[in-house]
Structure formats: structure tokens, C-alpha cells
Symmetry: D2
């Protein structure tokens, strides 16, 4: 993605639209047809689709393709150019009460002068395509770190502490890609397709942590999926079969920006960290006085969270069975549980909860962010 | 189960023990060996085991068998007599953050005089064995209603409004049982094994509703799994391959009883009904002043809830995908989500959340009860 | 689909192309670019995609969409017109050794005079869209029977005994469609989405049986999924979320047709009916003298079979567990097993094995057909 | 297991009994009550149970426990002594047409003088308990090799070429065991529970290969799950949560032994290797002249085979999807497919097909053995 124009005379708009299937773009079309949104202003679409969220989840790729074709027809461009221009990030898995939906980010000309207060700023970027053997290793970490900084700059966010959520879509290994590397005499970090998703998510998250000075570089390659003390508090990474590079969306607040949205975040220390979720709401001024009803405020645009089964097999001392279940993948378990908590608090299942939080928040926990209207 | 002795000089004790696998009875053994519990006093064990909670979940039967053998050796009785004497009810499925555990109920000689306030009372009973063709139909409803009243009486609970949770374990149909009925020229209510679990749960719940005058009898047989306006607010029914009859545990509060436990309940209107869960906590005096920290009180012994995907495919207007997922059964989805919410609120995954809430609470919701120490 | 032109001066060509994912149409594109195939001649594409084959298998719809877009670009037509012109039928589920692929049928101008012997003939047709409440009932049966006869006529097949395989893609019910019927005061045949697939497949197969005089009409509606003595020996029906009507492909042999392909079929009496599969090969002249090596002949284009778990829970007296497994759907089990047998015999996993054989062949078994080059 | 008495005056008997559930020992009890079998003579029971065959498959442990308790009551010994005396090996997973059953091996006093021809001989042994960090590494390989030789000697088999099947049950890692190792400062070979099954199976198979001089020792530890050129043609290893040591059953033919059974084997080169299966039947004199009907001979006692998805993602050049499926584990896929082929050939689903053939036969294939009566 090429650098976006200067942000000073712009503002960011965010829309949440429901999806009745992976190919349902009616919500987007309605915004475009109603004149609420101009296709040229869209910079990112972040969706939750209803596949298994694993290796063979084609709902991500399918949704990506339909969104790209739709924007292509509005912009009179080939679909391939849309993918270069708009960060299309689909995360699979709407277990339990989670509801398929997409969050659409647009950068539009400012309608009013900036208020002086910080407002939501969003920047996108993407890395080059990775070779199979680069996933989960230094190349993926470094390249990601570099492009996170580019996306920050695109967003007009100057300080790391103003970054509240960094969404990354990253590749995974399939049997086919593993064999391709082997044929070239290269060894991939793992030969297990599902396992490769964790490596790719983990390395990408470490890239964010470096970019935002959350950890010192260089990260030794053995630390990936091993040293859980290294993590980013704002990274949210999601692996998919549908791409070969990392696509990055940086969300934060920037001064001197117009607009009516803000973002805040906190960290869930484990998968049942009610207080962590409440802190995220508080960070945008909601529910601060113990008023749980406020968590269902119309001001909320969306909640974004990462979930994972604690690697030590325990949640607050009680054994969970997510890692030993051969029938349901651990990420599906985790999304369902954390989705149940966040949907319960916010009164809505159309929240973004993504599974696999390696190096994203502390071990067993994950970042949680809220985008809300200022009033 | 034979009627229990008069309750006036007794009190009910409750223990929650974790399980490291379906055959782990170490928690029970420790209580028996430590002298905290006398095997002769145990009247019911209500467990969550880590199988799929579906037709082929043998962890329930396995745990049942090991609990029965363990008590048999302490009581010098054959295991089959234990099953006639103690209500052994295992519910499968510990998706997400749920943690395998058992709740042990004992009726012990009162240590002190009754306080005057109502205290936890528990009664058990069981129906005769059902024929495959009786499941999901009038016979199961009526027989259940009758035995719920017997169990109430056993517990010493006089009024329906003092009943706060009625746990029932009921049979299901397997391909083999369906064929057996056919061989006798009888037709079962369904030929789908997984589907039969819903019929058996639904009919059992309607039996509870009749026993407690929550609905008028007779219930037309077509109402089962069809007329969702008919339900019990305290029934929790769970189907399993391991039995042919309904085993019933009635929990409530009774006057004139000693003891240090109380039970209260509320109803979740849907799978994300935070307020419903909070009301259940309030009913035993916890978290009433908006103090969420109190939900993690050491006074709590356990939380009991039923979960189900809303049959209309929506949770508060947002589409869920639980009913259309061919990979994960709807009950697994629902347990994971509601388990995430309740574990988040109570700070502990070892809570009893069971899937399939047909005629148990309003459509898409379910009963939720809390047992707590009085101080 | 509109009636095809007279077949006298035409022949049918068949190509099997592998697919590296649901959106991989490279095999088709190669045929078109190489000049082996003219897009205008394609009348049907019958694919096996790698989803779960259940309700939420979006790989079928995705593949359909990509095939339609591809042909649209070659034919300079909108994709929607392609779906009206070409029978696009995707069957989900490539469990075990099964390999995703598509079989492309084309009707091309005859290169030589007809040989006099019967040759492969293929006709397509489709019904009107069905309402949710019509699925699994008389309307679906009758309408299907009618359009099977139309497709036969299109193919130029005069006698029912010359029909060897009738592939139908039919709709299913989702939670959403069930609710839509309810809102109109109508009741669907079932409220279980996965279960509706069986009803739709069964009714469609009974339609084929009527069209080919395999059973007497009218079929009482209670017979659907109940009277297993009623079946078609050549019907293969597959349900999918991606359509609302039945799409029909009739395959048989017709006299006076040029071409180098023939089709034959037999019936598997159960899921391990080796002899049934061998008879299908024999019907096209392969492996007749006990020469199993001939089953791997290059003459073979593809094998088409239906598979299902026997409803009585037994295969030749031995219990199977396919119907009692809450983790894997019965159709996935059945495809994997029958796919293992047929792939073992034919030496290739890219065979068409589809699950759910209600009223398609005898109970527990299913039709099996082979298309081969004449030499 | 202690060394068995001299075999010269003994013979081996084999019985296949069906199981109606993991706890069904009625088949065994009938043999004991009918006087066909004396409980004191039983040396091994090799079962297929109906769990998922993965980490959380408790049907293995449950069946083990019930078999041990049953034999304990007949032998008036504590169950723990049964497990030390009889090799109880349960393999989970009866996907597709596979049917739960057990094969019971007994060493009984010879009824007649040895015929002079070689006859079935069976020996059992077991290793010490392994530490979690020893699994998949040199300790497991070496210790297994040593005890395979002990079991051979117990069986009276003198030459490696007379060994036709070596069944091993080996441990796996759970989240809990991995943490236990960590707490002692040790690192396990993997932190993925399902993945640990492959390591344990692979190392055990390499132990067999060393014991039988199929490969040269020492095996570098990096070769485990990496160098697929190293394998045993007769090893069949199966991992389970229910034990901490390797239990070994060596089956072969020995001279000077009475009895009416023989065993032979071959190797499947891939999961669809029809010829490999036919060679195994031929090795015991069945179906040699192309007479497929003979494969369903009453002489057959059981067929034993290992199955796995080819690691390169291809079966004879066609892509399979077993390794990229996040919904169904690869071993379940493979058992279903190979089970379909072998059940089709032998006309019976109660065959022993076990998943995960790492270093057991060539990559993507596996050993296949047949036990048959001599007439």
C-alpha cells in the first residue's frame, strides 16, 4: 500500500456492518449507495467471517475476494489493485455468540476543524511477500516492525503510546508451501500447517512490539513461541491461507485530527479477565462509575480482542481442556469463551474476537481495544 | 432412590472438587480420608466432564462408573447399589475456559440448631427406566413431574417458589436403541441420535414445569421442541448415553433446616444476558451494590447454568452461526460462550454450564443458580 | 437452463481437472487457452470441493462463483447468465484420500460420424426456486421428476435404462430460511439445518426414481426418509447452501451419437460393497476378467458414487459409529470410507464420492457409475 | 510384564470379539463363561475403541480399565496386577465403516503336538515409565528396542524375518505433563499435545526397526519425524493418554509350536495401495489366484494395518486435504480411508486400522498384517 496523503485536513470514519454470509457485502453497498461513504475513501476493512479460523478456512479468502470485486466495480479498477490499495483483513471464526461482520475504515475530508483533542487515526501498510521458510523467523519479525512504523507515519500517529491496536493479517504454511520450500532445500519453522499459524502470528506480534519499543531488539529467533515474557500489548495478528505477505492496520489517536471517534485499549491478563475488559471500556470513557449499562452504549463502534488458551493449561489455577481437545482447535475454544464474555458485557455479538494471541498480551491473555464515538 | 430420612435434624453440605480427568476422584477421596465427609452422607454428585457432551461422550459414563466404584469400596456395597442410592449426574462438555469438576452434596447430621432462616435443601429421586419410544413424549413428561415432587418432599421443600434448581440427567437414543424400538414395531420421536438429546431434555424440563406449577398440564405432545412459551425457570436437564431413566436432583431452600448454605436463581433471557447472571448472584446477596469484585467471593460454592443457541438464529438481533455449523455441535458452542461469561464474572472456570436449554428458561436463554455460603 | 440444440451432430466430451483450492480454475483455463475446449460448449461442471460438505460449507458457493466469473469473462456474459446456462454443481467434502477436482462436460460439434454404438450423452435442466417449506416434500419430488425428463430429452436419451447417473444439486434449510417460512406462517419439514440436507436429497432422489419409472407415483410424503424400499439406482443428490432450486445433470448413453466416451453403473449394496464397485467398472468393460490392474486404466475419466452410513447402525452385521458421532458428521465419515475403497481400486483419489445417499440406492448403499473412454 | 513360560508345549489362540461400547466386555466374558478361554491364559488384548483417537480420547483408558477389572475378578487379583500381567492395548478411532472390537491373544497348553510348520507366536513386554522429556527421543527409542527383543524371546521367535507385526502402545504429552517437565527445568520434544503423539509413535517405531535390524543404530535424534527413509515394516505404534510406558506385543510365526493360526504381512506403499493389502492376504495363502471372494474367508481372524496422510500432501500425485483440515485430525481421516479399503476387501469393518504411521512403513504408507487359521 502506498503512503496515504497528509492527514491534517482529514478525519477517520468507522462503520460496522453485519454479514449474512462470507460473500455478503450488502452492508458495504448500502453505505456506498446511501452516500454515507465514498468508495475512494476506504482504507481498510476488518472482518470476522464464519469459517473455522484454521488452515482450511476459505471464508476469509472468499470474503476478501467479494469485497475486492465490489470495490473494484465502484472504483473502476481491477480487483488486484483494490488489494494493493485497501487493507482487506478477514479473521475467521465466529464461535458461540459471535456474529459475522465487518468494520470499515475510511479516511474522509474533514467536515470541521480539528477539536484539539486526539481523535482516531488509522494507517495501513503491507510487507513484501514472504517465502515459506521466512515465516515465524527473523525476516518476518524485522519486516513487520519496519512496516508498522510506516503505517504509523501514514496514520499521523507520532508516539507509540498513542497506538492502541495493530491488526495484522499474516500468512500460514500449507502442506503445499512446506513442500515447495523443501524442494528448494529450505526447511520451514514447522511442518504442521495448523502449528504454522501460531509461528506466523507470534513473529508478527514481536514485530509490532519492536516497532513500538515494547521490547528491545533484536529478538532471538528461539524466543518465538517460547519466551512469553516478550509481547506487544496492542498487537492483534491473524493468520490466513489467502495471502503471502503481512497486511498491517495501525489504529491510534492523533492530535490535530478532526473526527468523532477515539480508541483506547487495555490488556486481558487471562481469558476471564473481566477487569481488563472493563479497563478498555473505561479508556474511552465508558462504564467508569461501575455503570455496566453504559457498556452497551450506542457510542460503541466495536470492541477488538485477542484470545488464547493459556499455554500452561490453567486459567487462574483451574485446568482448561482447550489444548488437549483433538476435536475442536484451541483457537475456536478461546474465541468462543472470550467472545461470550465481551458480548455479554457489550450486549452485542458483532465484536471482533480473534484467536491465537501468541506474543500478543501476556501469556494466556491478550489486548482488548474499544473504538467509540466521542459522544 | 429411596426416600431420605427426615431433614429436621440434618443439614446439607456442598463441596466442589476439581477433576484432572474423567476418572479422577482424588478430590472426593481426599474429603473422605480427611474426615470432612462421610461416604454414607453423600446423596448426589453433579459433575462436568471433558467429553463432547454429545451422543458419543463416554466421559460421563466413565466418571459415573469410577465415582460409583469409589463409593462402593468405602460403603462396602456393590457399585450397582451406589447408583441406586446416590444421584450421580455427569454433564459432558467443558469447552473454552470451563474446568472439569464435581459438586458433591451430602446430608449430614446437623451440628447446630436451625437458624430459623431458610437453608439449602437437596432431594433426589429417579424415574423408572424409559423405553426408547417414551423419550420426548408424555410418559417422560408425566413420570418426571411425579418424581420431581417426590424429590421435593425428600428435600423437605414445601413450596415451589423455594425450588431454585432442578438438575435432571435423562437418556438419549442411539442407533441401536432406535432399531430396538423398531424391532418391536414402535417408532421413536426422532431417528437422529444427537437430535434425541434435545427431545429428552425438553420433555424432562416440561415435567419440572408441571411439577412446580409453572405451566398448566396436560402439555400436548406436539409442544415438545415447538412451543417455546412453555418452560421451567429452574430446570436443568442433560442427556446421556449412560442411563435409561431420569435421575433428579432438586435444590432449594427449606425452613427449619440447619446448615451454612443458601441457593438462589434467576433466568438468562439470552446467551449474553449479563443482567440475568448478576440477578442470580444478587439472589444470594452477592454483588448487589454493583460491586463486581464480590462476584469472586469465597462465599460462592458454584454457579449452575444452562445454555443454548437461540432457535431463531439471532442473539439480540445479531445472527449467530451455532445452528448452521456442521463441525461443532450447537451445544458445544453454547457452553463455551455462556461459560466464558459466567467464568469471567465469577473469576473461576470450574462452574457448571450445561448445553441444550430446551424448555429450560425462555427460548435462547436458560436458568442460572448460585449456591453460596451464608457468610 | 434452456433446451440444448439437437444432439445428432454433436458429441459429449469430458475432462477431469484437479483443483488446488476452491477458487482454483487453472485447470479449466488451461483447457480453454490450449484450445482443447471452447467455453461456449461447456454444459456442466461437477466438482468436489474441500469444505465439510455440511450446512456451512462455503467452498461450494465459492467455487461456483469463481467458475461462473471465469466462464463469464470468456463468454462476455454476466456471471448470473452463466449460472442459467451451465449446470454448476459442487459437492463438498474430500475426506481421507479424496482429492478436490472438477469434471467438465461439453457438448461439441461431432468430429466424425456416429459409430452406431451408444455413446455418452449428457443433458441438464433446473427446476424453479423452491420455498423453504417445499423442500423434502411433494413439490420438490414432482418438480424434480418433471425436469429430469426434460434433461433426458435434452440429452437425447430415449430409454430410462440408458440413464446411468443423475446428479442433482438441491437446496437446504438454514436457521434463516426456517425463520422466513415461519414468518409466513409455514412450517418446514424440519428445523434442523443439517437434517434438512437429508430431506432435500431424499425428495430429489425420489423425483429421479419417478422420472425413470423405478418406483410408482405418487410417493406419499411420509415415505421421505422413512420407506427405504423406495429408491433410485442412478440418483446422486447433494445439498448446498448456495442455491434455492434443483440443478440436474442427466448422464447416460444414447444411440446415434458420436464421441469416445461411455458410461455404465451399478449399485453398492452397502458401504463396503467391493463387488458393486467392480460391477460398475465391468459395465464399461474394465476389470472383467478379475484383472484389478485394469481398474487403473487410463481409459477411466472418473468414478461417481454416493455413500451413506447405514441407518440401522450396522454394516454387514458389524456396528458402525458414524451416526452416533457428535464430532464428525455422518456424511463426512461415509465419504471418507467409500472414498478409500474406490480410490484404492481405481488408484486415484480424484474420484467423485458424495455423502448422504437417502433414497439413492438401497439403504446403506448407493449408486456407482464410471465414465470411460471407449479405448 | 514378566517373561512367559517356555513355549514348546503351548500354542497361541486368537479371538475377535465385538464391542458395543468402550465398556462392553460381554464378548470376553462369554468366552470365559463358555469355557472357550481360561482367564489365566490371556496374554494380550488389542482393541479398537470408538473415541477420536487423539489426546482426549478417554475410551482407550476406559476400556482398559474395564478389561482389567473383569480379568481381575476372574483371577482374584487387583486390577493393577492385571495391567502388569496382560498387555492391554487400546487404539482409538473407528471412523467410517470401522467397528469397535477387541482381539484377545491367549497362550494355552498345546492340545496336539506341533505340526512342524511355523505357527503364530506372540510375546509381550513393557518398558519402564518414561519421563515426559524422554518421549520422542533416544531414551524411548533405545528402551523400546531392548524390550522388543525381550518380547520376541518370550514369544519363542528366533529370527527377525519371522516377526510380522509389533504392536506398541506408547504415551503422549498433555499440557499437564509438559508443564511438569518444565517445572523440573526440562524441555519436552514439543509443546503440542496432539503433535506429541506423532513423536512418541515415531520413536517407538524406530525402536522396533533397530530391534529387528531393519535400520542401523544409533538413530540420530533429529531423524525422528524427519528422515522418513528410516522405518520398520512391521511396527504399529499407537499413542494414548492412559499410560507412561511402552507396552509391546510382538506377533510372528515360530517353529516347533502347536496351534492353528499363522500371521503374514506386507507393506502398503501409500494409503490406497490395494496391491499391498492383497500381498498381506497372499502371505497367509488367501486370494492368491485373483480370487477376491477368498479375502472374505472365514479363515481370517483379523487384519492389522497402519494408516497416515502422506506428509508431502499427495497420494500418487493427487493432493489430499488431510493435513490442512482444522476440523478433523489427520489420523481420523487416514483411518477412515484405509479402513474403507480394507473393510471393502475383507468384507468386515471389525478390522484393526490405526492412525499415525510415522516410521511405520514408508512415508504415507504402513504395515498391514493378517492373522488367519491354517484351514
Amino acid at each position: 500500500m502506498s503512503p496515504q496523503p497528509g492527514v491534517d485536513t482529514h478525519e477517520v470514519k468507522v462503520f460496522r456492518v453485519v454479514m449474512r454470509g462470507p460473500a455478503d457485502v450488502a452492508g458495504l453497498v448500502r453505505l456506498l449507495e446511501d452516500g454515507q461513504l465514498d468508495a475512494r475513501h476506504i482504507i481498510a476493512i476488518l472482518g470476522k467471517t464464519e469459517g473455522n479460523g484454521g488452515v482450511n478456512d476459505f471464508t476469509r479468502e472468499y470474503a476478501n475476494s467479494v469485497f475486492a470485486h465490489t470495490l473494484a466495480s465502484y472504483l473502476h479498477l481491477p480487483p488486484s489493485e483494490i488489494e494493493a490499495r485497501v487493507a482487506l483483513v478477514m479473521s475467521g471464526g465466529t464461535e458461540g455468540v459471535l456474529s459475522p461482520h465487518a468494520t470499515i475504515f475510511a479516511r474522509v475530508p474533514a467536515k470541521a476543524a480539528a477539536s484539539g483533542a486526539k481523535r482516531l487515526a488509522v494507517g495501513v501498510a503491507s510487507t513484501r511477500d514472504f517465502l515459506p521458510e521466512e515465516l515465524g523467523r527473523g525476516e518476518q519479525i524485522e519486516e513487520t516492525a519496519h512496516m508498522v512504523r510506516v503505517a504509523m507515519k501514514n496514520a499521523g500517529i507520532r508516539h507509540a503510546e498513542d497506538v492502541h491496536f495493530v491488526q495484522i493479517k499474516c500468512p500460514l504454511l500449507t502442506a503445499e508451501r512446506i513442500e515447495a520450500a523443501k524442494a528448494r532445500g529450505r526447511k520451514t519453522v514447522t511442518e504442521d500447517a495448523y502449528g504454522s499459524m501460531a509461528y506466523s502470528r507470534g513473529a508478527s506480534a514481536l514485530g509490532v512490539a519492536i516497532a513500538l519499543d515494547e521490547i528491545a531488539k533484536p529478538v532471538p529467533v528461539e524466543a518465538v513461541l517460547d519466551d512469553w515474557s516478550l509481547y506487544s500489548s496492542v498487537a492483534s495478528t491473524s493468520a490466513g491461507i489467502e495471502l503471502a505477505r503481512n497486511v498491517i492496520i495501525v489504529m491510534g489517536n492523533a492530535p490535530g485530527l478532526a473526527g468523532e471517534y477515539v480508541i483506547g485499549h487495555s490488556v486481558m491478563c487471562d481469558a476471564i479477565d473481566l477487569d481488563g475488559v472493563l479497563r478498555a471500556f473505561s479508556s474511552v470513557g465508558l462504564g467508569t462509575a461501575g455503570d455496566l449499562g453504559a457498556l452497551r452504549s450506542k457510542r460503541i463502534v466495536n470492541v477488538f480482542a485477542k484470545a488464547e488458551p493459556s499455554p500452561d493449561g490453567l486459567v487462574r489455577g483451574f485446568r482448561h481442556t482447550m489444548l488437549d481437545d483433538t476435536d475442536i482447535s484451541p483457537t475456536r475454544h478461546a474465541r468462543a469463551a472470550v467472545g461470550g464474555l465481551i458480548a455479554g458485557l457489550s450486549g452485542c455479538g458483532a465484536v471482533y474476537v480473534s484467536g491465537g494471541a501468541e506474543h500478543q498480551g501476556p501469556s494466556g491473555g491478550g489486548p482488548v481495544a474499544v473504538i467509540a464515538r466521542v459522544n
